[in-house]
């Protein structure tokens, strides 16, 4: 576990330095993600070494958003001041964006013949 954490933090650190040094439009952790995928492609045993801890970390991804989420409450007055307009814009645009993205993905998958039967959800149920 400690070894995997050291590997992951090492990639994050490298990503952070690269992002700042090269003025990339991506945050350090996303650069670290790209570097780690590249490293796994070059050395597949690495993927197996980090698998147990990484899977554990990702199964509780929601936890890590809680502290920032509590910040919504801290900024409640600011949000309330702009009221209904912001709420409608946020909710409607999120509904539209999810629909548009999923629809465009499936439409182009159909057109280019890159559909995958194994990646289908059973009969629209979970």
């Amino acid at each position: 576990m400690i070894q995997t954490l050291a590997i992951i933090l090492g990639f994050q650190l490298t990503g952070e330095v690269a992002s700042r040094a090269l003025n990339l439009p991506l945050p350090g952790p996303v650069v670290g993600l790209i570097l780690l995928v590249t490293a796994c492609i070059l050395r597949p045993p690495l993927a197996e070494a980090i698998r147990p801890t990484t899977t554990g970390l990702l199964s509780h991804l929601s936890l890590f958003f809680v502290p920032a989420g509590v910040g919504i409450v801290a900024h409640w007055d600011l949000l309330k001041a702009h009221g209904i307009g912001l709420a409608v814009a946020l909710m409607a645009s999120t509904l539209l964006a999810i629909s548009a993205g999923a629809w465009a993905f499936t439409a182009v998958a159909r057109m280019t013949g890159s559909e995958e039967p194994q990646a289908l959800k059973d009969q629209g149920r979970e």
């Binding site: 992951i8 990639f11 994050q12 990503g15 439009p25 991506l26 945050p27 350090g28 952790p29 996303v30 993600l33 790209i34 796994c40 993927a47 990484t54 990702l58 991804l61 929601s62 936890l63 890590f64 958003f65 809680v66 502290p67 920032a68 989420g69 509590v70 910040g71 919504i72 409450v73 801290a74 600011l78 702009h82 307009g85 912001l86 409608v88 814009a89 946020l90 909710m91 645009s93 999120t94 509904l95 539209l96 964006a97 999810i98 548009a100 993205g101 999923a102 629809w103 465009a104 993905f105 499936t106 182009v108 998958a109 559909e115 995958e116 990646a119 289908l120 959800k121 629209g124 979970e126």
Partner: protein, 239 residues
């Protein structure tokens, strides 16, 4: 026995209390999520945030004091983002095959997220810094804050809008895409990653590993595209 006020003043100073409270609130949120049959409306982030908000209010604790303790959990967002490399690596053959559908989903999802948010807010008479704060709301928080700052927005407002977008997206994605009869896990995950960043991705992982992997990619690609289109869109709506 010591004076309870002394014990409280000791606890209120260190990170132990609010770090523990954050983990316990999340476990409670996760228990509610499981008890509700893993339904998307019982979002564990939302439940935990509400519990902690009530607790902070009841004890008269400000967010700064809370964050002193919670920052250790917050810090793990970075490593967790790097860890998304593993599901991405596992799904590489699928990802290679889906390059064109992903490009279409990215352009449509990212474009609609920015343009529709600005158009609706503008119709409600919102302008200036608030409009600039809203533009990158579908992007992962660190990138969104950077974009908002460069456009003259308010970073704290952007952070709150980003989190609300994520929670809302994670709650609506399952019923919405079921109603639209989108059955492709790749499309479902990718779309929620583009529109609702990491919280959407966390939801995608709760449901399906392939959806989670594609959601992580959608989140990363959207961060890049929004940085490019948000300034252009804002100029269009006279921010």
């Amino acid at each position: 026995m010591s004076d309870p006020a002394l014990i409280w003043s000791y606890l209120a100073q260190g990170p132990l209390l609010w770090l523990t409270a954050t983990l316990v609130a999340y476990l409670a949120g996760d228990a509610v999520f499981r008890a509700a049959g893993r339904k998307s409306w019982a979002n564990p982030v939302l439940v935990a945030v509400i519990l902690l908000a009530v607790l902070l209010w009841a004890t008269g604790t400000d967010y700064g004091t809370y964050f002193e303790g919670a920052q250790f959990v917050h810090f793990m967002l970075g490593p967790a983002t790097v860890a998304l490399a593993l599901p991405l690596y596992d799904n590489l053959p699928r990802v290679r095959k889906a390059a064109l559908p992903m490009l279409a989903g990215l352009v449509a999802g990212s474009g609609v997220a920015v343009l529709s948010a600005l158009a609706i807010a503008r119709a409600f008479g919102i302008e200036g810094p608030v409009l600039a704060s809203l533009a990158p709301k579908s992007t992962t928080a660190p990138v969104a804050i950077g974009i908002a700052e460069s456009l003259g927005g308010q970073p704290t407002l952007t952070a709150a809008l980003v989190l609300l977008t994520g929670i809302f997206g994670a709650i609506v994605v399952t019923p919405l895409l079921n109603a639209l009869k989108i059955r492709d896990w790749r499309a479902r995950g990718f779309a929620v990653g583009v529109a609702a960043h990491g919280i959407g991705t966390a939801r995608a992982f709760q449901v399906n590993a392939t959806a989670g992997a594609f959601s992580g990619i959608g989140m990363g690609l959207n961060a890049v595209l929004t940085a490019i289109i948000a300034p252009l869109a804002l100029r269009l709506f006279g921010g």
